[in-house]
Amino acid sequence: MGMVTSRIHRAAGRFNVENRAERVLAKSKPEAAPKHPTTEKYLQELWKDNESKESLTKKNQQLDGFLKDVYVTSHDPPSIKNPKFGKPSERDRMPQFRGTVEDTELGYAESEVVAEGKLTLRQTMQLLADFKTDSQKNDAAAVVAKYKIQASTADNILTYFGSLNVMINEPKDRQEKLLQKQVPKPSTVVEIEEGIPKK
């Protein structure tokens, strides 16, 4: 029932709507909407007061002078040197290198700067190799002095890690002998070349 009523109501609202719209558009100047009684009263009072009437109609010379003195200059923001603190949209943050990344020796990008108390894998291999060659000379105290790591850490590394001993079987024939030449010679640290020995 409510739906029927609303449908009739809407149809009544739209009655002769085009005609009425044409009539409004045909007027040369649109009629302003009537003001609220409170606003009307306030405006009438304002116009009665001579001083405020003058301030509304006449140009204020002082303010006009201020406005003329204002001069705006603009310049581009300085380019951001440190990309870390720039906006993500800044051009400096875009990748600078677009070539193919070369394979590294150890399989990952090594740090150029090593913080104090830290070790790189290369240093670790070196200290383990040194320990193997001369455990008296290159003991934990020497490691602490050389690499500036904690004494307990140096002790743990030397206790729990070591380089591998490489054992190679006696070659059976000439072909196997040739193949074994490609395998790194027995050394204190085995560093594995990439890939698999060719057959």
Binding site: L121, M125, F161, V166, V190, E191
Partner: protein, 196 residues
Amino acid sequence: MFATVSRSFLGLLVRASGHQTSRSISFSNAQRSGAYDSDGKTTITILNNEPGLGLMVDSYSKVGFRLNNGSFVVGPIALFPKTVLSWNVQSDEDINEQSLDLFTVLEPRPDVLIIGFGNRPEFKIQLDRLLHTFRVKKKLNLEILPTDRAVSTFNFLNAEGRYVVAAMIPPKAINTTDDDYAMSRDRKKKLYLYDD
């Protein structure tokens, strides 16, 4: 995240060995393409045999690990993308903050540190409890897995080019299949010989 990754890897990894296969199956759809291409093509890439992907574990036994460069390493190992060191621990009981101290001072910090603790599943809870504060304090991405799953996780992450480090001990017991036996015989060139 990595736990789920390794689990999905296991779907591919059926054998006890660490060989990883990634399959890409391409087939021509006659209805869609409209022209005869060829029979369905299946290619298999074995990650362990791909050159340039770094060091991976081909298989493991109760004694040690066979790596994809043809060497067999005896005992527990600390495995890096292209380097291997021996890890001097007697058993899974020795896995603690002291024996993992090296990984906390490494620069740059490893993306993931995988610990293969052998194959005592009941030990995992104890190890998790032991290393929980350690992983938080040292800000390490630690992944504690049985060795078989640690191997496959390491292989996949290394193939992806991540700086992944694994400390693994050989499991105390392993289940071998006929395929493993055949592969082992083949390696010794005794595949067609009778057992003594």
